[in-house]
Amino acid sequence: MDIFFQQLVNGLTIGAMFALIALGYTMVYGVMKLINFAHGDMVAGAAFVGLAIYTHVMGEAVSLPAVIAIFLLTAVAVAFFGIILERAAYRPLRNAPRLSAVVSALGASLIIQNGIMLVWGPQMRIFPELIPPLSWEFGGVIVSLIQFLIMGLSLLLMVALYLFIEKTRMGAAIRAASIDQDAARLMGINVDRIIAAIFIIGASLGAVGGLFIGLYYRGITFNMGWQYGLYAFVAAIMGGIGNIPGAMLGGIILGLFNAFIAGYVSSTWADAFTFMLLIVILIVRPTGILGERVAEKV
């Protein structure tokens, strides 16, 4: 029983990270109908940027204000890169066939990933221990401070995003643009600004996810973007791509599933089982758990 609750905690932690990253995928897909393959690499980049800020800007300080500063600066930097990415790789292809945008995204992904490698080298780097390695035990289950932080902050951010999307004008505009970009434009919504907004939000959330990955796993490599990115993307698809609560749900489910497989079956089969879960879900419910069917007028 201990294993169950331990894996539950681990799963929620990982799930929270997946959810944060998945939100970036799902927001971009919702409005632009584009799989932003480069998102995972930006998440990886965030970890390296965070490392760089820690080393060169913060002078390796680990105080609370320093940590907060690292988070904020990284988020801003990654959001900035997100805007550049959109302008350079996606905007020129707004009216091109979908496949072109997919390949452009893959190209951007290769650029970012290999850019990281060229700057920081191909070997694994160690992310600084910004959070003290404290942990507490609750009836046989160990929960670390980092895990509390990840789960708590992720929850906060997700709630904030949910409120933003549901309760604000900009949020309504985003939802409108997700349903029908042209109609939204005709209603006076500045779609370019909406797209900029979703890239900023998605990239920032992803950046936080990347920093969490650094804090939790400590070892970061230039190509980890595809690994985590793929998982997060799977989470977004499972929840129904384009659906924001779906991405959160998908992330949590995926994290839990991954943890339980690793705990009960075998960690060397975790990827395989996760994808088999995805395949089953898509066969049974092709548009994802919370996804909606869209009818085509003939």
Binding site: V103, L110, Q113, N114, L118, F275, L278, L282
Partner: protein, 319 residues
Amino acid sequence: MKHSDYYGYALFFLALVILPFFLDSRWQAVATTFIIFTIVALSQDVVLGKSGMFNMGQALFFGLGAYTSAICNTKFGIPLLATVPLAIIIPALFGIILAGPIIHLRGDYLLVVTIGFNIVFVQALQNNLLGLTGGPNGIFGIDMLQIPGIDSGRQSVVYYICLAALVMVLIILKNLETSKAGRALHYFREDPLAAESIGINTRAYKIFAFAFGAGIAGLAGTLYANQYSAVSPEAFDFVQSVLFFSIVIVGGSSVPGIVLGVFVMFVLPEIFRDFATWRYFIFGFAMIFTMILRPCGIWPATYGKVPAYILKGKQHGKK
């Protein structure tokens, strides 16, 4: 085919035939790999270029063929040449089995599911499935493909075997293009609803396309096993699938486009070894620029291949 096409193919073939005489053993190996990957890319084109299905898991079938040959040869002692039919049929069967439940999915979902299949496959290989696949190190010590009377261990012979396979694949693809089945693929790519309404069983033909591409990729797998005498999981992971996918889209859904794509992706880095670490970085830019400037690929597919007797409007005797 137009006359200019004939000359183009003849020249290309001639160049490939005389190539080994100008190359040393190491570069012959590069050329051999070039041909093997061209075959895989051509198989990817059947599913992606002709049929318009977002398949990003073709390395799975490539690997299935390679591992089938490897296992049959090392575990059951079957000579490599005899494993070829199995290396084609087993991937083709998997193509049918895997495509069946997922073929109706929308493009982006299909993409992720094919990546998923690829990842499951590679992880199964790494876990030494059924004790057959050899774990993360793969299988080595595969015999060479033996042709009686010829010293089949020489690199140039291996090269010519692959070249012969390429020619055969090109002929088969030509047959596909001038057949009812091949045309059906193009039709449902252009407009699935219109294709259904004109009488095409799109579901059946989509599965056909997957199986067709899988079989060809499987053949390339045997050639790969022959060339390297070993197979390992990383050679067939989804990163490879992404490359094959990109080659077809960036190069264009045509034989010249694909050959060009394979050359740029696999041969150029061998020529410019010094730039190897910059390889993918530069490719990324190339991919983006190509999509912006030439969305249909560098050398897109062409249509309007209509038999000459239709065009000339001549009277032909009714039989």
